[in-house]
């Protein structure tokens, strides 16, 4: 099978912060390419720059220099407002601590990103129900986060990430706050999303077992890619 077209292209990206008079280089001329439909894991020690890289790819931050392309969009040149609109349509986020709004039900949390898109109430409802059905929470529509287990809350988070049918899903330590069984369920679900919906997933993790679910793992150190592991489809997921 021919290799899929790259959906994410990071070209010579530098990112530095200043701490007082000191300059801290977090990413140093990093380049990478992620094909459409790949499940990619980013690993590395604390301070290696993996979350910064995730922020740049997800349009949460802009590089000091270099380019970030997602599909045909050069997001590294977009303004904050343009990025906000772009994120709504193109990126789904899965967080370690779920970050659901406590006052909203599962249904309303999933509906949240759709409020920013122009669509009818009927279409919005259909999408929310489909997303919650995909993560197996059709029977928990009207539960608030406080009434759900950690694994169920993360499922709601995943439903919120996919409800806009984004090009890209980014996950920051999605199993970091879960027990082993729930973590395994979540990784399995993410694998299914990648395979069946052909979603491109980029996941930051410290957990080697979680990284084993990805088709490829990139190791970062001091802002540079230092190692790459590829797995066969049989071992991944």
């Amino acid at each position: 099978m021919a290799e899929a077209e790259a959906i994410v292209r990071v070209n010579g990206v530098h990112k530095y912060f200043t701490r007082g008079s000191e300059r801290v280089d977090v990413l140093q001329g990093l380049s990478l390419s992620v094909p459409n439909g790949e499940f990619l894991a980013l690993m590395g020690p604390s301070g290696s720059g993996k979350t910064t890289l995730l922020n740049l790819i997800a349009g949460l931050d802009t590089p000091s220099s270099g380019e970030v392309w997602i599909g045909s969009d050069l997001i590294s040149k977009m303004s904050e407002s343009q990025l906000a609109t772009w994120r709504t349509r193109n990126v789904g986020f899965i967080f370690q601590f779920y970050h659901l709004l406590a006052v909203l039900t599962a249904y309303e949390n999933v509906e949240l990103p759709l409020l920013l898109l122009s669509m009818s109430a009927a279409e919005r409802k259909q999408r929310v129900l489909t997303a919650l059905d995909l993560v197996g929470l059709s029977d928990r529509l009207h539960h608030r986060p406080g009434q759900l287990s950690g694994g169920q809350q993360q499922r709601v988070g995943i439903a919120r990430a996919i409800v806009t049918d984004p090009t890209l899903i980014v996950a920051d330590e999605p199993t970091g706050d879960l027990d082993a069984k729930s973590a395994d369920d979540i990784l399995h679900l993410m694998g299914e999303l990648q395979r069946e919906l052909q979603k491109t997933i980029i996941m930051v993790t410290h957990d080697p077992k979680a990284a084993e679910r990805a088709g490829r793992t990139l190791h970062l150190e001091k802002g540079k890619l230092v190692h790459e592991e590829r797995r066969s489809k049989a071992t991944a997921s």
């Binding site: 949460l60 904050e80 407002s81 609109t85 986020f93 909203l104 919120r160």
Partner: protein
Amino acid sequence: MFQLTRLIIKNLRRNVLRTVLTALGTMVLVLAVTSVWSVLDFIDNQTADKANDFKILISDKNNAQGRLPRSYMESMRRGAARGSDDVVPDDYMTWAFYGGTLDPTKSSRENFLFLIACEPEKAPTMLDDLDQLGTADTARLNAAIEKMRKQPNGIIMGHEQLKLMNKEVGGRITVNGLTFKGLNLEFEIVDTFPKSAQRYGQTSIMNIEYLFQGIDEYDAKNKTKLASGVAPIAFEMLKVKNRQDYERLAAQIVNSPLYTSPAVRCESGGSAVSTFLASWKDIFWGMRWLLSPAILVTLSLVIANAISISVRERHQEIAVLKVLGFRPGQVMFLILGEAMLIGMVSGLISAGFTILFVNKFVGGIPIPIAWFDRFFIPQVALLWGLGIGGVTAFLGSILPAWSARGVRVADVFAKVT
């Protein structure tokens, strides 16, 4: 917009106790400022002249407490007009004030009666607001005036005054004069002012001719003139169509050779009230420029405090909203919306409650300034409550909302400790 508003309402449920306390704080302060503004609004209305039906008050020029002799009365009622070119007033009313006590040994409030001595038939047209009564109340007032005309010692008493004195319509009372010391008069209460004329709840009127008759009888009986009876008239009130007529009439009277001892001055109704209220000027100034702003600033700070805490607690949640695509302006809208919703709803409820409580339950704010005695909350206070709540909430929450707007999206990955 509807969905965002729904989100705002749901956010207010996040910390119900804080929302309720903020709302209660807002309500109390709106109640305070609404009450203060009601008094000021009433005073403003009293001191503002109407564009039409100008009222002129003619009183002693050199002595605010001075009174005018009876000899001035007839010519003044005609505006001192002598030629056919002179302005003649459309209406008139002569005012004297007779106050006294029912029991000279016990000077308590329920024993004290203050009467406006006037021509009773002039009350419906010359006393403010009595021309605004409904048909039934107007008929009742006219019937009471007719009784006074037939029965010179008849008085119409405010219903609150009647209740305070524990008297009934038809009852007879003897008043021991204080404003006309030594002149004791007997009255019969022929009726009360209609309750719809709220401002006359504590006002009573008597026939001025009965006062003059009493003075004459005193003089005849005692073979000496009652000192306060020599000049018993407080002021003459005339009504003209407009300001132009007012100015001409004022010139006519002031320049008339009929009024030299004492000389007289003319003031518009509003100006006369302002003069009368001069001794309360500092209090009104303080209420308007110190008390009201202080309450409004306090209200803004209460809301600012609550919203600041809320924004600080939800820092990461706001970052999540921005990650999901909410733009800075939408985040600001959410925060401002929460504050303004609390402020406006609380303000409206508070104003509504204040109107009901003060006007219906308490029967007015009892601040005895001049002859006003108590103040009522106008219906427009509903708009004040809405506006005060909304504006102070907006001002109080603008800085917290601005800081929420500036939350960095990358903060969403800040680790929870």
